[in-house]
Symmetry: C2
Subunit: 207 residues, 2 copies
């Protein structure tokens, strides 16, 4: 998967610094809002030096974005068709929420890209992601048919999970402003709430 070839350890180190700094800046300012200078400063390199490692701002951005994508979509794949339906789905919600808590920069960068119309990852969405969603949708429908979970629309179930979990990263300013908090303590309550929300919805009537 990782086709990179960081020949020297200096290259290794500086590429990492740049990509990390770029994630900081891009996630906070968006692609257009970010400047090479900001990234260079954050990476503690001069601008021409940064451009020695990457040919352009665009190249840095696409590398950050694509390196993020797999990690970001992984939890969905991890849903096990052999496991207990409700626990599998709740586990997915939990993992997505953890992702929001632990990787908010990635979440915001992704959100920003989608907001802008996903110009660079639309094929990823209409390709691999769509296939994986279709796969899980079929699984959910089987679970519904077998009475393991309530008969709800599986597409919108997935959308709602994405929405509710990513909200805590993407809209964290609003969440914190309303809860009057600066730390991540509210993630505990968020998890409780989401577990209740989805358990209530997924548990078939008669249980």
């Amino acid at each position: 998967m990782n086709v990179e070839k960081p020949r020297t350890r200096i290259q290794q180190k500086n590429r990492e610094r740049i990509l990390n700094a770029a994630l900081d800046v891009f996630s906070a300012e968006g692609f257009r809002g970010a400047t090479i200078d900001q990234i260079a400063i954050a990476a503690e390199l001069s601008k021409p030096n940064l451009l020695y490692y990457f040919p352009s701002k665009e190249a840095i951005y696409t590398e950050v974005l694509s390196s993020l994508l797999t990690t970001w979509l992984d939890p969905l794949q991890a849903i096990d068709s052999q496991g207990d339906p409700i626990e599998e789905i709740l586990g997915y919600v939990r993992r997505k929420l953890e992702l929001s808590r632990d990787f908010p920069r990635e979440s915001r960068l992704f959100a920003n890209e989608i907001l802008r119309g996903a110009p660079r990852i639309l094929d990823q969405i209409e390709g691999p992601l769509r296939r994986m969603v279709d796969d899980k949708v079929a699984l959910f429908q089987n679970w519904s048919r077998d009475g393991k979970i309530s008969p709800i629309d599986p597409f919108h179930l997935i959308f709602s999970i994405w929405a509710t979990t990513q909200h805590y990263a993407d809209f964290s300013v609003q969440v914190r402003g309303i809860l009057r908090t600066n730390d991540d303590a509210h993630y505990v309550d968020a998890e409780d709430f989401l577990m209740t929300l989805y358990r209530a919805t997924l548990t078939p009537r008669g249980n």
Copy 2:
């Protein structure tokens, strides 16, 4: 409320055109990504002419943003403490979803502003919005105490409603990419799903 004083009808018309064009461009490109030229072209005016009506890009942006804000937060206020608890909350969800469908530009502009850290509306969030949320949270707690709705965390309930409804506007590219759709037909299914989701969660056990 509207303290504007559009003296002539030309001013009236052109200010409207500019604000509408600005909403188009800002919601699609974000503040930094948008250029005065783009807005001017969209409004079919020359750039200096546009700057005859508004002193700066910033001024256009803040006017668009603030004119949006009241409309955006209104539905929350409309929740009636005298109505049927579950129907009131479901009605709120429905109205928020309609807002996403009918005013996606506004939703995306708002989302973008929050993503960037809400630099221009943080006081609105920590002021009026927070007060309104606190008010409704207290109401929900009363309903919970009286057994009218399930005992769930009212803050996170509100967050989840914001998240699930705005998702359809803010992430519409992703939603459409996965559903293979270009129109708004999926909003019907979305509404069904959300009604089921929140009814299942809010209905107290024993009903």
